[in-house]
Symmetry: C2
Subunit: 646 residues, 2 copies
C-alpha cells in the first residue's frame, strides 16, 4: 500500500496452514490450524466462488495485504507472520508489486517469490499485484506465465506509478489498469481471477468522481471479477461509493479497504502518497498524542472497529480488506474485536495443506516431514501427481535433491548466536547433546539459562499434542533416545477435538502411536532383541547415514498412522509411515545434524566432532504400535531396551 | 479324469471366495469365506510361488480336479460346488480338457468357460488342462491366447487320447506333451505356469517304467513347473516314484493324485480307462459290498485317509491333489479327517475376490452388488483399471449393459417350479409380496408350507451377519419396507471375528450401518420428512425405475461403509455407497423384479401385474448411518416414518 500510491492492494486468505508443525510433529500446533471447515469445496473452488459462497451463507470474512520485505531475514519473518495471521482464517492475502524491487525475479524478496511462498508453503489463497505502466507486453506476459507456473491463481491488475512527474499516455502501450485486465483475459482466458482497485473518493488524477466511476466500470466490463477499494476514513464514504457503483451497473463484489491507523508517521506518509485528506476530527485527536505510538494505535484500533461495525451492519458489506503494513498487532486486534478472527480454525487435514492448484487432490503424506512441511512441499514440487487416497498410488517419484535446501524458507528462523545459546557454545560429550534434546522437550532452561525453543528438525516449540507425551519423552531423551517426531495413539476422537481433531465436523479421527529418534548402535542392538518379542504389533525401520536399513515392514508397504472417518465420504488417511520415502527423509534428517548444528562450530573443534560422530554412527529409528485401541506399547519397548542394557 | 485316460489331471485352489454372498449381503456368508490369510501375497503370487511358500512354511495344502459338465444346468450346479468346495481352501482347482465337448469354445459347458468361471467369478486359482494330439499348432495357439485373455494363468500340458486304435507319430505335429510344453514356452514365454502328468507305475503305453521317467524328465526340462501324478492305490507306489524321479534329476514339486473310491462302477470305469490294476486286497473288500454305495464310499474314504496320512507323514509330500469326479462328499470328508480342510478360512476382503490377474489391485466395490458378486464381476469385466484405495480413483467407467445378464452364471440356481412355490403360485396384493420378503427374513414357511430360501436379489439364505438384524428386518418387511441388503454398524471388532471379520489377523474392522429396500411412494414421502431431522447423520439415495433421484450426498461423493485397519499397511475400505454406480445397480435391481419374478406368471395375470406395479411405482432406497460408534439409528428412522404415517 505504502509502496503504491494509486490503489490499495487487496489481500486475505482462506484455506491455510503453516510450516511450523503438523500431525505428530513435536513443534507447536497452534500455528498450523487451517481456517476452512469444508475441506473439498475449499480446496477446489476459485477465489471468486469462495467469495460468493461466503456471501450467500452470510459468513463475514476478511483479507490481509502485505508488501514484499527488503531483506532475506525480513522475508523469513514475514513468512512466519503469514503462518500466524493465516491461522486466523483470512479468505485470502495479497502481495503488492514493488517495481523498484525487481518484483518478477527469483530473489527471495521479490513480490513473485513472496506470493509463491504464501501459496505453496503457507497454503494461503493469494493475490499477486501487478502493475503495467512503463512495461512491455512481453514483460507482462512473462510475469503472468511465471505466476501461473508457480501456482498463483489471482492477479490484482493495476496501472502503477508513472515514472516521470507528469504522466503521458503511450500509444499501443499499457496506459491504464483496464489494458492489463484486457491483456490477461486475451492471453490467459479465464485462468486468473482478476481484481481491480476502486477509489471511494475518486482517483486523485481523475477528471472527476463520476469520470473515475466510469473508468472503474470499464475495468469490470473488461473482465475483472471483484474490486478492492483504496482506504477511506468514514463508512459513509464507502457506502455512497458502493451505491454509486451499483447505480451505473457495477454488480461484482466491492470490498472496502481498511487501514487501522498504527502511528503518526505511517499515517502521514500514506496520506502524502495516496493524496487523501485526513478528516479534521481525526487530526484533532492525533495531533496532541503524536509522540505516543501506543495511544495512536489504540485510537486507530477503536476507529477501525467502529467503522468496520458500521460497514458490516449496513448489510451490503460481506468482507473487509486490511492494509496491514506487514504488522500483526493492530489488524489482529481489530479482527478479534469484530469477532471474525477464527480463534480455533478447523484443520482440513492434520498437516499444512499447500494451495497450489496441482496439489488439490493431495491428501496423504509421509509422517517424517511432519515438522518440516515446507521442506516436504519444496522437495515434491516437481511431482506431476500427488497421492490421493493411498500413498502407493503415486508411482513413488523421486524426491527433490537436498542441494538447494538452504533456500531461505527452509532455514531456521533463529540466527547463529541464538542457536549457540540454545544448543551449547561448547559440547563436551554425547551426553551434552542428550541434554539439549531433553531441554527442548521439558521447556526448562539449559545449564546456561537459555530455553531451547527449536531444534534442527523442529523450528517451533513442542506441539500441544506432543505435550501429552512429555514425561515419557523427557525420560528417554535423557538416556540417549533422541526423539524428533512422535504422536500418541487415538481411538476414535471426534473430528472437532481441539488437540487432535481435523477435517469436517461429525467425523472421528484415529492414530497409531509413532516414535522417531536417533540413537546409538548399542541401543539399536538391544532394541532389535526387544522388538522380536512384539512381533507384528510394532513395525520398525532402522537406518544409518550409509543407508544400512533394518525393517520388519512387509513388502515395503506404507503403514497408515493417521486416519479419519467422516459422514458421506471415503476414508481419509493423511499420514503414513512409508519405507521408501523414509530413505529420502533419512538423508535430510542426517544432513540437518551437520548443516544446522555441526557447522555452528569451528572445523576440527571438539563440539563439531561430537556432532559429526553422532551423524556418522547413530541410527535413525521409527516405531509404530499397530494396536491403536490398546495402550501405547512403545514406551514399554524403550523401557525393555534399557532394562536389557543394564 | 474319467474323460482322459492318459494322465490324472491336476486341480485345487487357493485364494478363493464365492458368489453367494459378501459384506453386508443378506445371503449366506458361510460360502463366501476366502482361504488365504495373507491378502496381498496371495493375490499377487503365481501358483508355483504359492506352492513354494506353502512348502517352505510347512503348511500342507490340497487341490481339486473337476471335469466340464454336459448340460447348462449341471454347469450352474458345478459352479455352486466350486463356491462350496472353494470355501475349504484349495490351493487351486483344475478343469479337464474334454476334446469331445468343444473344449475351447464359448459354450457354457466348455472346459475353457468353466475354467473362466472358476477364476473370474469364483476367485479360484485354476489350471486349465489342454491336450495337443490331433490338433494344429494354430488351434493350440488360439486356445492358449484365449485362455490368457480370460485371465487363466496355468495350463496342464497333456498329450491327449489318440483318435485311432493304434496311435502313430505325426511328423512336425504335436505328438507328446513335451511338444506342447515347448510350444507354450516358445510362444508365451514365462506367462503360464505349466504342469505335466506323472505316472507312478509308468504310462501304460511306455516301453518301460524307466523310459517313462525319462519322458517325464524331458517334459520338466522343456519348462514344466510341477508334476501331478495319475492316481495310485498304495503310498509306497508314489514314494518310490518320487525317489526315482529325484534320482534322475527331477527337482520340481511332484503332487500325488488321490482318488477316493466312491462307488463300484466309477472305479471299474476308471480302471478300464487308465489301464491301472486294482490291488487284490482292495478287490477283496469291494466285491462283497458292490451293491452298497454307502459302504463302498465309507471304505474309500478310510482308504484315502490312511494313504494320505502315510504320504504326509513321509515328510516329502506337501500337497495332495484330489480327483473329485465332480462330487463333494467323499473328498470333503477325507480332507476334513486329514485336518487340511479350512473350517473357517479367512476372507481377504468382505466380498468375493476375483482371481483374474487384471483385478489384482481391486479392493473397493459398491455395496449394492454384495449379494450378486458374479453380476458385478461380469458387468465390470471390460474395465481396464480397478479401483484401488478409493472408489473415485477409477474414472467411473461405464457398467456393462444388462442385456446379457441372463447368462447362466447370473441365473437363479432354482428351477421355475421351486420359485413359484417359494414366491407364490398366485399373488393377490402388494401385501402378499411383503409376506414373501418376510418369510425369507424369518426362515418360517410361507402359507403353503414352503420355506423361502432365495430372492431375486439374494440367491442364498440369509447371511449370518444379517441374522443379527433379523427381528427388526422382519418388522419392517411386514409393513412394506422390502429389504434387499443391510449391514449392522461395527466399531472396531478384531479382524478375526468369525462373523464380521476379514483381512489379515491383528487388525480391526469397522462398518457403518446400511439398509437398502424397495418401498412405496407414500412411505418415501414420510421418510423424507423424517430424514430431515437426522441431517448429515444419515445419508440417503432414493430412486425410482425412471431414474428420479433424491439424495443428500455431498457432490456425489462415495461414502465408505466398511473399512479395516491392519498392522503395517494402509487403510483398506472395501465397500462404499457410491451415488454414481447406484444408478447402474438401480437398473439391475428393478429388472430383477421382472426377469426373475414377474415372468414366472402368465402375461396379463393378476400376479404378474402386481409385480409390474411394484416395479413401476416403488422406490429403491438406501440409508447409511454415519455415526458408527453410536447405536444404529436406521431402525429409529423407519419407526419414525411409520409413526408419521399413522
Amino acid at each position: 500500500m505504502v509502496n503504491e500510491t494509486q490503489q490499495p492492494g487487496s489481500a486475505s486468505s482462506s484455506s491455510r496452514s503453516d510450516g511450523g508443525s503438523s500431525s505428530g510433529s513435536e513443534s507447536s500446533k497452534d500455528s498450523s490450524r487451517c481456517s476452512t471447515p469444508v475441506l473439498d469445496a475449499d480446496r477446489h473452488e476459485r477465489l471468486r466462488e469462495k467469495m460468493r459462497r461466503r456471501q450467500d451463507s452470510g459468513d463475514k470474512w476478511f483479507s490481509l495485504e502485505f508488501f514484499p520485505p527488503r531483506t532475506a531475514n525480513a522475508a523469513v519473518n514475514l513468512i512466519s507472520r503469514f503462518d500466524r495471521m493465516g491461522a486466523g482464517g483470512p479468505l485470502f492475502i495479497d502481495v503488492t508489486w514493488h517495481p523498484a524491487g525487481d518484483p518478477g525475479s527469483d530473489k527471495e524478496t521479490s513480490s513473485m517469490i513472496i506470493a509463491n511462498t504464501a501459496v505453496n508453503y503457507c497454503g494461503l489463497e493469494t493475490i499477486l499485484h501487478m502493475t503495467c505502466c512503463n512495461q512491455t507486453k512481453d514483460d507482462i506476459t512473462g510475469h503472468l506465465q511465471k505466476a501461473k507456473r508457480l501456482g498463483l491463481k489471482n492477479v490484482m491488475a493495476l496501472r502503477g506509478d508513472p515514472v516521470g512527474e507528469e504522466w503521458e499516455e503511450e500509444v499501443d502501450g499499457f496506459n491504464y489498469a483496464v489494458d492489463l485486465v484486457k491483456h490477461i483475459r486475451n492471453e490467459f482466458d479465464d485462468y486468473f481471477d482478476v481484481c481491480v482497485a476502486g477509489y471511494p473518493t475518486g482517483h486523485p488524477e481523475a477528471e472527476s468522481y463520476e469520470a473515475d466511476l466510469k473508468h472503474l466500470k470499464e475495468k469490470v466490463f473488461a473482465g475483472a471479477d471483484f474490486i478492492i477499494t483504496q482506504l477511506f476514513f468514514r463508512s459513509e464514504t464507502f457506502l455512497k461509493f458502493m451505491k454509486d457503483c451499483q447505480a451505473i451497473g457495477i454488480t461484482c463484489p466491492i470490498i472496502p479497504g481498511i487501514f487501522p491507523i498504527q502511528g503518526y508517521h505511517s499515517l502521514r506518509q500514506l496520506v502524502k502518497l495516496s493524496k487523501l485528506e485526513v478528516p479534521q476530527e481525526i487530526k484533532d485527536v492525533i495531533e496532541p498524542i503524536k509522540d505516543n505510538d501506543a495511544a495512536i494505535r489504540n485510537y486507530g484500533v477503536e476507529l477501525a472497529v467502529s467503522m468496520c461495525r458500521e460497514l458490516l451492519d449496513s448489510g451490503v458489506v460481506h468482507g473487509l480488506h486490511f492494509y496491514t503494513l506487514n504488522r500483526e498487532v493492530a489488524t489482529t486486534e481489530v479482527l478479534k474485536r469484530l469477532g471474525i478472527w477464527k480463534e480455533d480454525p478447523r484443520r482440513p487435514l492434520p498437516w499444512a495443506v499447500s494451495a497450489h492448484p496441482k496439489r488439490r487432490v493431495e491428501d496423504v503424506r509421509p509422517i517424517f516431514w511432519a515438522s518440516r512441511p515446507k521442506s516436504y512441499i519444496y522437495r515434491t514440487q516437481e511431482w506431476d501427481d500427488f497421492p490421493n487416497g493411498r500413498w502407493g498410488n503415486s508411482s513413488s517419484p523421486a524426491f527433490g535433491e537436498l542441494k538447494d535446501y538452504y533456500l531461505f524458507y527452509l532455514k531456521s528462523k533463529s540466527p547463529r548466536e541464538e542457536l549457540l545459546k540454545m544448543w551449547g557454545e561448547e559440547l563436551t560429550s554425547e551426553e551434552s547433546v542428550f541434554e539439549v534434546f531433553t531441554c527442548y522437550i521439558t521447556g526448562e532452561p539449559n545449564k546456561n539459562g537459555y530455553k531451547v525453543t527449536c531444534m534442527p528438525w523442529n523450528d517451533d516449540p513442542l506441539a500441544t499434542e506432543t505435550n501429552l507425551l512429555k514425561e515419557q519423552l523427557e525420560k528417554v531423551n535423557r538416556r540417549g533416545i533422541l526423539t524428533i517426531n512422535s504422536q500418541p495413539n487415538i481411538n476414535g476422537k471426534p473430528s472437532t477435538d481441539p488437540i487432535v481433531g481435523w477435517g469436517p465436523s461429525g467425523g472421528y479421527v484415529f492414530q497409531k502411536a509413532y516414535l522417531e529418534f536417533f540413537t546409538s548402535s548399542e541401543i539399536v542392538t538391544a532394541l532389535l532383541k526387544v522388538l522380536k518379542r512384539y512381533e507384528l504389533r510394532v513395525n520398525y525401520h532402522i537406518v544409518n547415514v550409509k543407508g544400512q536399513n533394518i525393517t520388519n515392514a512387509p513388502d515395503l508397504q506404507p503403514n497408515a498412522v493417521t486416519w479419519g472417518i467422516f459422514p458421506g465420504r471415503e476414508i481419509i488417511q493423511p499420514t503414513v509411515v512409508d519405507p521408501v520415502s523414509f530413505l529420502s527423509w533419512k538423508d535430510e534428517a542426517f544432513a540437518l545434524w551437520i548443516e544446522q548444528w555441526a557447522k555452528l562450530y569451528e572445523e576440527e573443534s571438539p563440539s563439531r566432532m561430537i556432532i559429526q560422530y553422532i551423524h556418522d554412527n547413530y541410527y535413525l529409528v521409527n516405531l509404530v504400535d499397530n494396536d491403536f485401541p490398546l495402550e501405547n506399547c512403545l514406551w514399554q519397548v524403550v523401557d525393555d531396551t534399557f532394562e536389557l542394557l543394564n
